[in-house]
């Protein structure tokens, strides 16, 4: 690394230095995750239990009637929906992120991000990417098994643009999940205790993301559900894959999802800066 006389790096060097830091955070966080591999593997397996109960529940509701539909979903599609939602949640759920941020604000360990030349959100983001990568390695087998067991209900592969849109939406759902949870964690700058807020968010997101039931079944009671970012956490990727969103609407759907990411990122930045200012004026 060459440093100019002013101590500043050229643009390319600056970029390289930043990428190297992200890579190292990712690597270190992966190593950290692997320390608790047994616990992690067990909790990963336990997470597959709800899908089994969901399938039993819906088979009871449909009473094995393969013709009957509910807001456009037949039994097979319903099963597929919940499998895909499970997959989307594997990207968008962020266990412990909000609580972790809130705790670091409350106990002062957030200080290290203020003292060191490092960006907290960036640091946590790459930390979380590592967390997810380890999760996918461990969960790949169980995921494949569940999909294989339910293969009779699954529709065939859609056209490739739909698959691409699905993957894009899935990846973006990670960013949406991260940004919503980090924002909730940052609220701890203003309120000391945010655990009940996190609980409320969990409940709301369970409904509003389509995790509990497809949003088509919900929208008659909550008409504004389509205008909230929560649907990207579970519903949207699944709906894309099942062809519930017409192909011509897909680009717009993805653009809106990307716009939500930008908006949430901006709100996160503002919340962090204001929060730190408040923190600094309350005693650090």
């Amino acid at each position: 690394m060459t440093v100019s006389s002013s101590g500043a790096l050229s643009f390319a060097e600056e970029l390289r230095a930043r990428l190297r830091l992200k890579w190292l955070i990712l690597r270190t966080a992966t190593e950290e995750r692997l320390v608790y591999r047994a616990d992690f593997a067990f909790s990963t397996l336990v997470r597959f239990l709800p899908i089994v109960t969901q399938i039993f529940l819906w088979s009871a509701i449909f009473q094995n009637d393969t013709v009957r539909t509910m807001k456009g979903y037949n039994f097979g599609q319903m099963v597929s929906y919940f499998l895909l939602v499970m997959m989307a949640r594997a990207f968008s759920s962020m266990p412990g992120l909000a609580t972790g941020i809130a705790t670091s604000i409350a106990d002062g360990s957030i200080r290290k991000y203020l003292i060191q030349p490092v960006d907290m959100l960036d640091h946590l983001f790459w930390h979380r990417v590592a967390h997810k990568l380890v999760y996918y390695v461990i969960a790949a087998g169980p995921f494949a098994l569940v999909f294989w067991l339910c293969r009779a209900h699954l529709p065939g592969w859609p056209a490739w643009p739909v698959t691409v849109a699905f993957v894009a939406s899935l990846l973006m759902s990670f960013a949406v999940g991260f940004l919503i949870e980090s924002l909730i964690g940052l609220i701890a700058f203003w309120f000391l205790e945010v655990s009940s807020l996190i609980f409320i968010y969990m409940m709301l997101s369970y409904f509003l993301s389509g995790h509990m039931i497809p949003l088509e079944l919900l929208s008659q009671w909550i008409p504004f559900v389509d205008y909230l970012p929560f649907k990207y956490l579970a519903y949207t990727p699944a709906a894309i894959m099942l062809g519930k969103i017409p192909a011509e609407h897909l680009p717009m759907e993805l653009v809106v999802q990307a716009a939500w990411i930008v908006a949430l990122l901006i709100i996160n930045r503002i919340a962090f800066n204001r929060g730190v200012r408040r923190y600094s004026s309350f005693g650090g």
Binding site: M1, A17, R277, S281, G283
Partner: protein, 331 residues
């Protein structure tokens, strides 16, 4: 050249108050009472490059708040400060790469991983060239005698070992300014001494500027020549450490060894008897009465050995801080 310049720095906090009882709690839902507490009041000082200065004061005196102000964690209510030409609370990366704050809370290392992983991350965070990193890490691990612990998860290290690792993490990027907030808190005597010796050696070698706060006067005496004493947010002394005793101690200690194996009665009239181990006695005597007391004792008794010593710094500081109006004492 001045590394740290602080001018009339003030920091006030709003502290919410809650009266006792259920009704007060209910009232508190609608109207919260608060008081303004001054943690730091008109603090000014200058620290030259390469100086090692002790920051002394009782709990709540404003030491940590001052360090937080200088590390950019806290914004002042009024006043100015520059460290290495930077305003700390702007938190510019250019400044953050040039200082370190080490607290007794030890929070820089990844708990579940060996310390070397955290150090590697620091290398990237602070953009330390590979060659410098290797050399510094080598040097620091040798000086602090932790080479064999480098691959052990941090959570398995003892408190003293962890503190030494924290110091490495704080010094890898070779900061020009180091803030040490109670670095030896909770350490045993051996670890304390090791950290002390390291700090003394390192500061002399690297000529870095250090502010140290500690409740262990042994740390302070071993490391610093200059002390800034702060109480209730006000600087009450800024000068040589030794001058604290001259300035604030109203007593000296007379150590006597009598010729016969006993101790005479009535020594209490000279001052407070600190220790009696016949034929030796230690008496704390008011400074201005020392010569008068000595004359009387020598006239009345047969004495083998006699010496007059200063009180330990720790006692003087304790007395200073326990007096209700330490600020007035300074005047």
């Amino acid at each position: 050249m001045a590394a740290i310049e602080v001018r009339e720095l003030c920091r006030e906090y709003k502290v919410f108050r809650k009266r006792e009882g259920l009704m007060a709690s209910v009232r508190g839902l609608f109207h919260r009472e608060h008081t303004i507490v001054s943690a730091v009041r008109n603090v000014s000082f200058t620290i030259e490059e390469g100086e090692m200065v002790a920051f002394l004061g009782p709990n709540g005196a404003g030491k940590t708040t001052t360090l937080k102000l200088l590390s950019g964690l806290v914004v002042p209510s009024s006043g100015t400060a520059t460290v290495l030409g930077h305003v700390p609370w702007k938190r510019e990366d250019a400044y953050r790469r040039r200082f370190s704050l080490v607290t007794g809370q030890k929070e820089q290392l990844w708990w579940d991983l060996p310390a070397q992983e955290s150090f590697r991350l620091h290398k990237e965070i602070y953009r330390i060239p590979a060659e410098d990193y290797r050399r510094r890490l080598d040097e620091l691990t040798d000086l602090l005698e932790v080479r064999r612990l480098m691959s052990q998860p941090v959570r398995e290290l003892s408190l003293g070992e962890r503190m030494r690792m924290e110091l490495i993490a704080a010094l890898l990027h070779r900061p020009d300014v180091l803030f040490l907030d109670e670095p030896t808190i909770g350490l045993d005597v051996v670890s304390q001494r090791r950290v002390q010796e390291f700090l003394r050696h390192y500061q002399r070698e690297q000529h870095i500027t250090v502010i140290l706060t500690s409740h262990y006067m042994k740390d302070v005496e071993a490391l610093c020549e200059r002390a800034i004493v702060i109480n209730k947010g006000i600087v009450i002394h800024d000068g040589p450490l030794a001058a604290i005793i001259d300035r604030f101690s109203r007593h000296k200690i007379i150590e006597l060894q009598f010729s016969d194996n006993g101790c005479p009665d009535g020594l209490e009239r000279f001052g407070r008897i600190i220790e009696t181990r016949p034929p030796r006695v230690r008496i704390q005597v008011e400074k201005q009465r020392v010569s008068e007391c000595l004359a009387t004792i020598l006239a009345e008794n047969s004495v083998d050995d006699i010496s007059v010593v200063e009180r330990p710094l720790e006692d003087v500081i304790a007395e200073l801080f326990s007096s209700d109006d330490a600020a007035r004492a300074a005047k």
